[in-house]
Symmetry: C2
Subunit: 338 residues, 2 copies
Amino acid sequence: MASVGISEVARLAGVSTATVSRALSGRGAVSAATKQRVEIAAAELDYVVSSNASSLASGRTRNIGVLLPVLDRWYFTSVLSGAQRALLHAGYDLTLYSLDGSGSERTQVFEHFLLRQRVDAVIAVSLELSPQEVSRLHELRKPVVGIGGPIPGVPTVSIDDIAIATLATEHLLALGHTRIGHIGGAPEFDADFHLPRQRQQGYEEALRAADLAPDPRIIRNADFTTEGGYRAAKQLLGLPARERPTAIFAASDEMAIGAMLAARDLGLEVPGELSVVGVDDHDLAEFFGLTTVAQFPREQGAHAVSMLLEELESGAPQLDSLMQFELRVRSSTIRPRP
Amino acid sequence: MASVGISEVARLAGVSTATVSRALSGRGAVSAATKQRVEIAAAELDYVVSSNASSLASGRTRNIGVLLPVLDRWYFTSVLSGAQRALLHAGYDLTLYSLDGSGSERTQVFEHFLLRQRVDAVIAVSLELSPQEVSRLHELRKPVVGIGGPIPGVPTVSIDDIAIATLATEHLLALGHTRIGHIGGAPEFDADFHLPRQRQQGYEEALRAADLAPDPRIIRNADFTTEGGYRAAKQLLGLPARERPTAIFAASDEMAIGAMLAARDLGLEVPGELSVVGVDDHDLAEFFGLTTVAQFPREQGAHAVSMLLEELESGAPQLDSLMQFELRVRSSTIRPRP
DNA sequence: TTGAAAGCGCTAACAA
DNA sequence: TTGTTAGCGCTTTCAA
């Protein structure tokens, strides 16, 4: 079955190819009757536009590039998944660029892939684009939306990491904890948007607001993994009883789960002897009964898509937007033993 | 900076656009000297081909579609990640279609997206394409490679699930276990390629080869998640001591980890009182000391890409290929107590 | 080995 | 509201 072109449809519908194009794309005026005839003809012939021809002629590709640092973390796949669904819905394709591995891939993606006129716009997830990268995209008139933190000159979808950390810490304070440890992200993860720093800052602010001084002995860094959280927690929980925290706020659920496992391995009960709060609402949080501050990465992805589509349609640059988060109290937190 | 077209490059290099095209694409004969002049001119002008124009004229898009059932499982993101890297390397783009959600998305993807001449070929991961879907793609002369199981008429990258299960079970048998339970995949996960059934079959074959009869009381199904594995294991471990298995073979690492956690919660020591083996070599397997049969999804993704590129270049249909797996013995398995 | 020229299949001015 | 027509920017015959 050779593929059908617009002219066959035009012939069958008894109109010109221009009218077929207008009827099917919805741009330009077409009478209802004509439109219907064209649609019937197109369906009849199983006609689908050639996106290349269409893109070449119109300059629009109906394709969005999504840039991610890595693929194998819950947050990123969730964002991706939300973006994919939203795009599919809107009739757009999603071209994926994950930058795992060497930095040369990043250059390659920018210098060759994005410049080939393949995408109408770009979503950059947790990537701090350099000014050059941003201006490269601006020159090409490609709208960009960032997810995860501010990029100068680019509208961004993000969450208030300080407020999240404050909320988590305040939950522990409200339960009566006064010795609250923190497992944060190591500085090398601070590169993009200072998420670790901000979460630590929120934690410290909440402590100070409760007249407690942050104690560096019960603040540790890890790499956002379960294993890293486990190791960091062992350090914290190995302190002499008086210094040992009665609660831990971890900057991610995976680290929080590591902390719960570490407590168990040390013979400490969660939550009886240690309360734990995370951030994310990871798939496993429910299973472990982990109290956490949920963020909604799928919605973040979907929201970025809607901003981008809005900008593509209206041409109006979009504003930053702050996304929701929400404390989910489960069974890993309880008031400290007297 | 307006984007530069092929004719500017041609002018600067003092040749025709045809020669520029040949020099830059590598198809057609160009003298070394000319080629170099063209390359210098192109670099000078920051010229990048318009992929739409190129695709329209040539019929090739240098873009591969990857179809996945869901994004948020380790296996799929690992395959995707491997495929992405391999494609980037080869200068191809990857367009992602994850079919999460309603079945209507699947139809939409097939009827609209794949038919728009956007992709040169398709990789279908753990999706049993229907004969109609396959012939649709064949009609369009789009090569397809499957990952994860046989699709009639489509070359496939897969692993021998029976052999994997046999290997895992034999490891337990070799340690001296005779009462070996199994946590398999529920039948609803059997839809694509009967992976659960095959792993159970391998398990049973290994038992029979050791003159042991499979005992349905110690075979449970779950949903491949940690939580599912946890619940299934609780059932198995709650049996009266004589019936209770001394070892469990779980069809995935996530379920195996659930089983380990269930044992702990019941006060049973792993491996002292229960040995556990999984399949995958998930990120967390090392952390939990889980003995497992590693499969290599990144390599599977990369291999599928190389098959596809080979087919695109040579036109020769590819053969199925079986991928490696490997027993990784850690600390979750030990000989049973006498 | 190179160039001239004819499209690839569609969209968007423009005119009617 | 519709049709005519001129490209979009490249690749690929074909001829030299």
